[in-house]
Symmetry: C2
Subunit: 326 residues, 2 copies
Amino acid sequence: MQKKGELVSFRPDIKVVDCTIRDGGLVNNFEFTDEFVRDLYQTNIKSGLDYMEFGYKASKDMFDVNKFGKWKFCNDQDIIDIVGDNDTDLKISVMADVGRTDFKRDITDKANSPIDLVRTATYINTIPAALEIVEYCKNKGYETSINIMAVSKSNDSDLDDALELIGKSCVDTIYIVDSYGSLYPEQMRRLAAKYLECGEKYNKKIGIHAHNNQQLAFANTIETLTMGVSYLDSTVSSMGRGAGNCPTELLLGFLKNPKYNITPVLKFIEEHINKLKAEGVVWGYDIPYLLTGRLNQHPRDAIQFTADKRTDYADFFQYLYDKEAF
Amino acid sequence: MQKKGELVSFRPDIKVVDCTIRDGGLVNNFEFTDEFVRDLYQTNIKSGLDYMEFGYKASKDMFDVNKFGKWKFCNDQDIIDIVGDNDTDLKISVMADVGRTDFKRDITDKANSPIDLVRTATYINTIPAALEIVEYCKNKGYETSINIMAVSKSNDSDLDDALELIGKSCVDTIYIVDSYGSLYPEQMRRLAAKYLECGEKYNKKIGIHAHNNQQLAFANTIETLTMGVSYLDSTVSSMGRGAGNCPTELLLGFLKNPKYNITPVLKFIEEHINKLKAEGVVWGYDIPYLLTGRLNQHPRDAIQFTADKRTDYADFFQYLYDKEAF
């Protein structure tokens, strides 16, 4: 596959999607202060980012609104309280998880909503349900994406079938998601080639959402973008579940489009991220996440290991290995 | 350039070189306890590593032996006190810096020394001096390498000339060294292709020593190894100057040769590295190192910024940028 663009130039089709509140919310139960969210919104505007994902459209029947911060639910009014009429170039995104959203009740006409993009997260075996959400949202006037999670667990022929099905739908963007942070750049490039082939055939854009279990989130993002992937998820200081995501500050250091500006992100880290860490909110690369990533497992055991402040890494590795193998 | 090997197989020519004491010594002034060094030696044996670098052969005229730990000087006897007659498959390495070593006084016949490999670190403008050390050491019976530092600052034609000169020498291995952690995988692959071409022409092995300023040390190491680079530097928990190096635990997670074993490294981290960090020894990826790496600068300003416990990242970025540009 032909390389797209050079290191000294830039591609105008690149879009950076800030997922700090949405993926970071998995770390602190979405308990962000309004000041944090408002400053991040201003930071994203000043940094030239393309999308800001505010959180999930989670079902209020399935999740108690009193037990989570408001960005688990992303009421339109809560977003409006932050962005006003959002008269900026920054678009607003939310995520709906298949099986965890009342999309018909909670997602209204685009004309009445501050939201621009609805991203649907799905496992490979629930793609018809994801397509139902996508078609609904598309008809309501939104941009849409399908994010196929845990692709490192899918086999090639299922993935081919899934991409064919999604390609024929009305979705705008298809995401490669390395949920477990287990994929090496070599594997990521193979996946990107497959997704991009589908994208060319059906006129879809391709995105990447990486996790940093093996310190490869940034590398995998820039390696696939070089091939033509154009929607790039990142979070400030990699804030996100477990080992976190591709750090926005590294990604902006790589991108050459003069509209991107790293300085506001650096200020946001100084003012907000360091404080969050000092308060004890924990995420980012660490040995337990390397181990689940290497074994291509969900990070939940590593999150628990970290929360328990355990350091018996060798025993933990043996436990994970046995769980997988025997 | 043809890909060498597959993800599911292994290449027997791969050698992993543990640089924890040598590069890590730059962080703690080489003040390791004997217990630390002895346990690391045992760890490296159990993990199947190929080389352990004990430190520098620094000139005692230029550096006061009372102001550094002993691994800055690596007396043969100090190594023997740790390894005995080293009746193992783990080879012993030391580094000599051009212009900072009394190699004729301090490096004796291999027959009387526990050392197997002498690595010579040089900038591109001191290669004749490096070759003098290499020839001396080769004649004394040692394996040798030349490590061309700060290659991200060299221009292509100088590097071509340098590789030609080194190719014609008696050196065994030539190292790509990303001293400033500024190189992206795409650039690293271009450099590796150049070095490997020289290696094929002159029958030299090629090595890589990466720094983690942009969280790319592991990615750059595995990307170039896939092309044929075979000497891979790593350190436990990436311990090394500034942002540190390619973490041994990530590298062993990638390598498929059954002789490599991650578990002893995990135990070493639990027993020694966590303690070192709790004692306040600081290294590893952080915002200031990202900024010097991105600007292709020596990490010394970032090391000072970190030591001063500053967090005004945006001001620091402006300072670095102005220093470079104006």
